[in-house]
Symmetry: C2
Subunit: 222 residues, 2 copies
């Protein structure tokens, strides 16, 4: 069996989980307390980060970009990186947009501050960071709205890794109840479509011990 | 003709330049003053960042990861992302290592502080950041030494995008004279091999107006 070492509310781990589910590849999950810096885990990934994927034959893969490209290569259907090289570039540009820009400007400011600091006991949330995250998210939801006003999915006609990366981040922010969906109808319509996919079910079933999500988190009519 | 919008001493632009040169694809370069946030440039890349590649037919590509994967797809030879999916995952893990970890821990602390702040007039270099960068680089040079002690190139038997990403970052740090090569023989031997490749020549010929590199920068026997 394939094993994914992960953390709850890591958008990078969620991205891999959704990709595996879209490809109908079975896997089991193991929560990795990365802050403990276990020797056995560092031997698998010297970066000390999740996600790490261990294949049935024991092969070890680290970093969400590397893992997603690998899965796309070993299981090309359904394709998640565009029908041709140019479409692939648009998919990967948007994946980087969400994994870098959205992550720095929103996810880190809201999810890391509110949840990870609490879980890890690394201090009080920084109210300036939270304020910045709550302000920045509008720009990103507007950008999603702009894209789906012109395209069926974020990167074009096909559902792709771009939608998965964006939804992985947004689902984490949604878990802390900080996505102002009501002010962004187009982004909300797009997220409702992602949310209703079977590959997203396990994400919506996530519940941290002692920190359950708000009701709307898993609601398909949010 | 293909046009690459770039900035001097951007490791991400250098990565794309080396990849294009390895593939023997001709291109011209245009320096993009990203800090001016030109409307015409933002229309090409709403992230406002270099590199941006404009293809001969006018197609526009942004973000170094997207561009490098695109080039690999349209010009597969010589292959730079591994002979099989697992080798590709190791290449991409290491690319991410240098583009994320090395970039945060070293490049930003040394190159951005010393050069970009001066070029952009955005303030004095932060001596704490520089101290951190000078400390952190040893760990990364040790890691390179560890890898090439076991492999011909960073990701395995073949020269790959992992070597290119690592050398792109190190060449920027080398431009400011901050790589302690003499204390890292194995990393130095590896870098000498990269430096001697024809694809690296243009990188070694770079010279910022008013800020020339130290003599060893372009020296193959450094």
């Amino acid at each position: 069996m394939r094993t994914l070492y992960h953390l709850w509310l890591s958008p990078f781990c969620r991205k891999v989980r959704i990709v595996l589910a879209e490809k109908r590849l079975e896997f089991e999950m193991a929560v990795e307390p990365v802050w403990e810096r276990r020797d056995a885990f560092l031997a698998m990934n010297p970066a000390g980060e999740v996600p790490v994927l261990v294949e049935p034959d024991g092969a070890i893969l680290a970093h969400s970009t590397a893992i997603c490209e690998y899965i796309e290569a070993i299981q090309p259907q359904p394709g998640l990186t565009g029908r041709d090289p140019l479409a692939g570039a648009e998919v990967r540009r948007l994946v980087a947009w969400f994994d870098e820009r959205f992550n720095w400007e929103v996810t880190e400011n809201l999810v890391t501050e509110k949840i990870m600091k609490r879980v890890l006991g690394t201090g009080q949330p920084d109210s300036n960071a939270i304020r910045a995250g709550l302000k920045n998210i509008h720009y990103h939801l507007d950008y999603i709205g702009y894209l789906v006003d012109r395209r069926t999915w974020l990167a074009g006609a096909d559902f792709s890794l771009a939608d998965i990366a964006a939804a992985a981040h947004l689902s984490c922010v949604d878990y802390v109840g900080d996505v102002p969906w009501d002010r962004h109808e187009q982004a909300k319509d797009w997220y409702a479509r992602v949310k209703s996919r079977p590959s997203f079910r396990a994400i919506l079933a996530d519940s941290l011990p002692g920190l359950p999500p708000p009701k709307a988190y898993a609601d398909l009519d949010f």
